[in-house]
């Protein structure tokens, strides 16, 4: 789960990390009030609050928003309202949002912070160690991903101790790597260990501050902040779960999540129901490269064992208007195939079955499952293996055209 920049900054500030003064605004009027509160004479930063990186290099699809990106510097107080007006309600597209973009519902109004130097910092889990790992780089305005590919030696990785965070030697290593003046050391330590403690306390999986600013006096300021959390640990962080921005999640995705399933949408026309990540990936691989066919969505019912929940999940796929054919591939281990069969029948009798549906069952209780489908008299095609299921579905879809 992700949260917005202003929410992440608020959390980080509780750990002693310095952030520019800022306030959230949902309307141009609120933006004006916020600007007056955070700085007397400016300049100000207006920052679109969508959960994406590269907002500054993004573009708005709406004419009224003008040509500038999602992060705007405003020098005069009377420009705050018109600029906020342009951004609010407009759709911002970045390299991370996909072509549909995201609508900007709120902007963060911040006092502009004058800094001498900036750098990149993030905490993420290096699963090969495994350890919470600090990544820092002097980006010199270079894109951090470009740097990661072309000159990874310019990115420092520091594996932090889960309990104690960064050691004095590790702080020194970062100081030298970034060529920072000695007076910054104490603030850098507060910054790094603050990030680390927030990461551990809130079960984060990613914290990124890009850029971090260093002021003339040696202060360290988080000019941006992104935080992602471990969905599996949200049960112990109610205060984070309530920050979930439902707009940021696709509607069907949310519904599926409610039943404990995972759901993702793409731009093809085949709906897939599977019971594992690997099988989902493999089904998508098989569908790709078949002319006009592609994956519209997949629903991973994981180890679901409740027939009603499975029926609800299948309904989510059946009601996706993109779906022109449904492919069900189940390899039952923990999950019993007969429950899926019951779920299919229940869902089909409720919302109707208007598109071809091919099922392939293997594993636990597969024969019972096939019996259930045969007795249902529904026009369901049964396949023998994964490739066969894709072939049969595409043939059926061609015939129904």
């Amino acid at each position: 789960m992700n949260i917005h920049e202003y929410q992440a900054k608020k959390i980080l500030s509780q750990y002693g990390i310095v952030i520019p003064k800022g306030m959230i605004a949902y309307t141009p009027h609120e933006a004006k009030k916020a600007a007056a509160q955070v700085s007397f004479r400016g300049p100000w930063m207006l920052k679109a609050q969508i959960q994406s990186g590269a907002r500054n290099k993004g573009y708005f699809t709406d004419k009224k928003a003008g040509r500038r990106g999602g992060i705007r510097l405003v020098r005069s107080r009377r420009d705050i309202m018109p600029e906020a007006e342009k951004m609010l309600g407009s759709t911002l597209v970045t390299v991370q949002t996909g072509p549909k973009g995201k609508q900007v519902g709120r902007i963060y109004v911040e006092a502009f912070a004058k800094v001498r130097k900036t750098f990149y910092a993030s905490l993420v889990i290096d699963r090969m160690i495994p350890a919470i790992t600090l990544l820092v780089a002097d980006t010199n305005d270079e894109d951090i991903t470009t740097l990661a590919i072309l000159s990874p030696e310019n990115i420092l990785r520091v594996h932090l101790d889960l309990i104690t965070g960064a050691s004095p030697e590790q702080i020194q290593e970062v100081m030298e790597f970034l060529n920072l003046e000695p007076k910054v050391a104490k603030n850098l330590e507060t910054f790094i260990n603050g990030m680390h403690q927030a990461f551990v306390d809130y079960d984060a999986v990613m914290i990124e501050v890009n850029p971090v600013g260093v002021t003339k006096t040696g202060q360290i300021i988080a000019l941006d902040a992104k935080m992602s959390f471990d969905n599996n640990a949200l049960y112990r962080h109610k205060e984070i779960s309530v920050l979930q921005d439902e707009y940021e999640e696709e509607d069907r995705e949310l519904k599926a999540a409610k039943y404990g399933f995972q759901y993702s949408e793409f731009d093809g026309n085949i709906g897939c129901i599977v019971n594992g990540d690997g099988i989902a990936l493999t089904a998508m691989d098989l569908i790709r490269g078949r002319g006009d066919y592609g994956t519209a969505c997949f629903l991973n019912v994981k180890g679901g064992v409740d027939k009603d929940k499975i029926a609800a999940g299948i309904k989510i796929i059946m009601t996706n208007p993109r779906v022109e054919g449904i492919l069900i591939n189940i390899l039952g281990g923990f999950l019993r195939c007969n429950l899926i069969a019951d779920g299919i029948v229940a869902a089909a009798s409720e919302v109707g079955l208007n598109v071809p549906l091919v099922v392939r069952f293997e594993g636990t209780n597969k024969d019972e499952a096939k019996d259930i489908l045969e007795h249902s008299k529904l026009p369901i095609i049964i396949a023998e293996d994964m490739e066969d299921s894709v072939n049969k579905l595409i043939t059926a879809m061609e015939e129904s055209d």
Partner: protein
Amino acid sequence: MSILVNKESKVLVQGITGTQASFHVKRSMDYGTNVVAGVTPGKGGSIHLDVPVFDTVREAVRETGANASVMYVPARFVKDAVREAAEAELDLCVCIADGVPIKDMLEIKEMLRGAKTKLIGPNTPGIITPGEARLGIFPENIHRPGRIGIVSRSSTLTYEAVIETNRAGLGQSTVIGLGDDMLIGIDFVETLEKFMNDPDTDAVVVIGQLGGTYEEVCARYYKNLKEKKPVVGFVAGNAVPFGHKMGYAGDVITNGHVTAQDKQDAMNDAGIIVVNKINNIHAELMKLFSAHD
């Protein structure tokens, strides 16, 4: 022989009294698995599925000599269950649950550093040595005893690989699901090492998928082996478009966006026979074993 488990393994079940656990443990017993004890705190002294139930793992080990555990405990209790297994110095524990918090796994990995106990999982179908022992939730009816080792990160694709070995007219020595999660117990390298030393395994099927660099590390290990058995590899995830994401840290840690193709290339380069479709595994296995005859 086989690796990690066989008919001699004395298996205890953590969380034995749950409904799902009972269903699968009964199947494992019917399959011939030597289940000697169950552990459910508060239910010590009772009998469930004809085996004695204890309050703690330590007690169960003392009374029955159990040396491996399969745990059917909910995700939030996994950390404590693994700690118990490690403290009782079991050889192996298998964790089926999905949804274990990453921080708990970081602590578990720390806990197991240098410990005797090996962890398989979490979020795995477990381990099965066909005809001898089933620790987990594998659909046992698809397995046949044989001489091909299988190791996979994906649960469901493990089953596909099993079916492929059957299609080739071969069977499996041991089949292991490493687990679908970001952080897992034993990895490809540890497993492959065991298969390479197992006199009853002639070749190995490795199933990888997107996320992390486990496959690259595995390929590097294999490349440097002096004596090696053939390995057939598959990596799922070529058709996955860039998803919605936030921030760059995930790509930075792996020095760029890692694709399934990158993983396949690493495997190819190491001398692993890479197939593009999972349904082609049987053909490669048949080529390998007709050439040997």
